[in-house]
């Protein structure tokens, strides 16, 4: 499907049904996409609790916007644009700039997440669970320190598998700007993770 033909996007078709008052279509959209948005927001803001609240807010916004909805892009492009704005608003909040890491990032929690991520011993050199946990914690820390627009572009392209063009539409920028954002984010990750390479 091309971006110039949003009407053929299944998400767009569901959203048009929502606009016409079809509650089942909205439920289907929520069930299909809410988990991905929680995941995206989780990697963006670093807190599952806040990620869930953000995802709920995103779908409430979509529901409230339904009467005015006009399909101009793929549904997911629109969805991630709303989600990115919500995440950017969250990380700009003063409370988020000085997070209580002792509450949000307990070492045990970090290790647990890393173990889930890299349980496959071939995932990293050293073949040890400890190295996997350290890698997971380090990736989360580097992600958190990336500038928000780089983080958004990296997550959308890497984790959510969106093309540069789709990311550009979601971030309301150009494809070449996305290329630059993804490159800089990856270069930073590569530099900060040198010890694991």
């Amino acid at each position: 499907m091309t971006l110039s033909d949003p009407a053929s996007d299944p998400g767009v078709q569901l959203m048009l049904r929502v606009r016409d008052g079809d509650a089942d279509a909205f439920r289907e959209l929520f069930e299909k996409h809410s988990r991905a948005i929680v995941n995206f927001a989780y990697h963006f803001v670093g807190s599952r609790h806040r990620a869930e609240e953000i995802a709920q807010d995103v779908f409430l916004q979509i529901y409230r916007a339904a009467p005015r909805y006009e399909p101009t892009a793929k549904f997911t492009t629109w969805l991630y644009r709303i989600a990115t704005n919500a995440c950017l608003n969250e990380v700009r909040r003063p409370e988020h700039r000085h997070p209580k890491r002792s509450l949000e990032y307990q070492p045990d929690d970090e290790h647990k997440r890393a173990e889930i991520a890299y349980a496959d011993p071939t995932a990293i050199p050293g073949d040890s669970a400890l190295a996997g946990r350290q890698l997971g914690a380090k990736i989360n820390a580097v992600l958190e320190d990336l500038p928000p627009n780089q983080r958004a572009a990296l997550l959308m392209s890497r984790v959510d598998g969106m093309s540069y063009l789709e990311v550009a539409e979601a971030l309301d920028t150009t494809e070449s700007a996305v290329k630059s954002l993804v490159f800089r984010a990856t270069a930073t990750m590569r530099k900060e993770l040198t010890e694991f390479l």
Binding site: P67, Y164, F183
Partner: protein, 206 residues
């Protein structure tokens, strides 16, 4: 590291992502095929990309969906909202309020119309012709006119008016404002005032 390596370095991520046009991709592919340094860099970048793409997917908590649908219960159905204008004409309220206040003020200036309330025909009366050419103009027969609801009662809470309080057709077609009784009454009051002044003028001349 050669100058070529440095030049293509910023393009390597897009190269790996298949985001380059053919004419951008070919020279990089050609260089990489002969450059061990760049091949090694591509391996590292590929590994980093894989690590990021394999970040642990967090599962929403058990009550995530239930909490969301609870919040949704407070939302009106889409169909209920789609019939309303997406941007209500918010300017109509202050305009109506100002017009009503003006009408009240003018009305209070016309002797004999503040108490009891005016009992003039609802339809706008014809304006008086020019004074010099005017034959005798009859006063409106107030007692015989149909009785309307008292104006002060209608306008008592004018400052509290909200778009929801106004007829939907008025929001859609603001020109209907001119047909509002208060505006029509304003025209009538102006007419009465003009007639009175003419009458006084004639009495004075006679």
């Amino acid at each position: 590291m050669s100058a070529t390596c440095e030049a293509i370095g910023p393009e390597l991520v897009a190269y790996l992502d298949g985001a380059l046009a053919d004419d951008e991709r070919r020279p990089i592919a050609s260089h990489v095929s002969t450059c061990l340094v760049c091949r090694r860099e591509i391996e590292r970048l590929t590994t980093v990309q894989r690590w990021v793409s394999e970040l642990p997917a967090v599962e929403p908590s058990r009550d995530f969906a239930a909490t969301f649908w609870e919040r949704m219960e407070e939302e009106p159905p889409v169909a209920e909202r789609s019939g309303r204008p997406s941007r209500p004409l918010r300017w109509i309220v202050p305009v109506l309020a100002a017009a009503a206040v003006l009408a009240l003020a003018l009305r209070s200036m016309v002797p004999g119309t503040s108490t009891p309330p005016p009992t003039v025909p609802a339809a706008p009366a014809p304006r008086a012709p020019a004074v010099a050419a005017a034959p005798k103009i009859e006063r409106p027969k107030v007692a015989a006119a149909p009785v309307e609801k008292p104006a002060p009662a209608q306008l008592a809470n004018v400052e509290d008016l909200k778009p929801e309080d106004l007829p939907p057709e008025l929001l859609e077609h603001p020109e209907l404002f001119l047909r509002l009784p208060v505006v029509r009454r304003l025209e009538t009051l102006e007419h009465i005032d003009a007639v009175k002044r003419e009458q006084q003028s004639e009495d004075g001349a006679g």
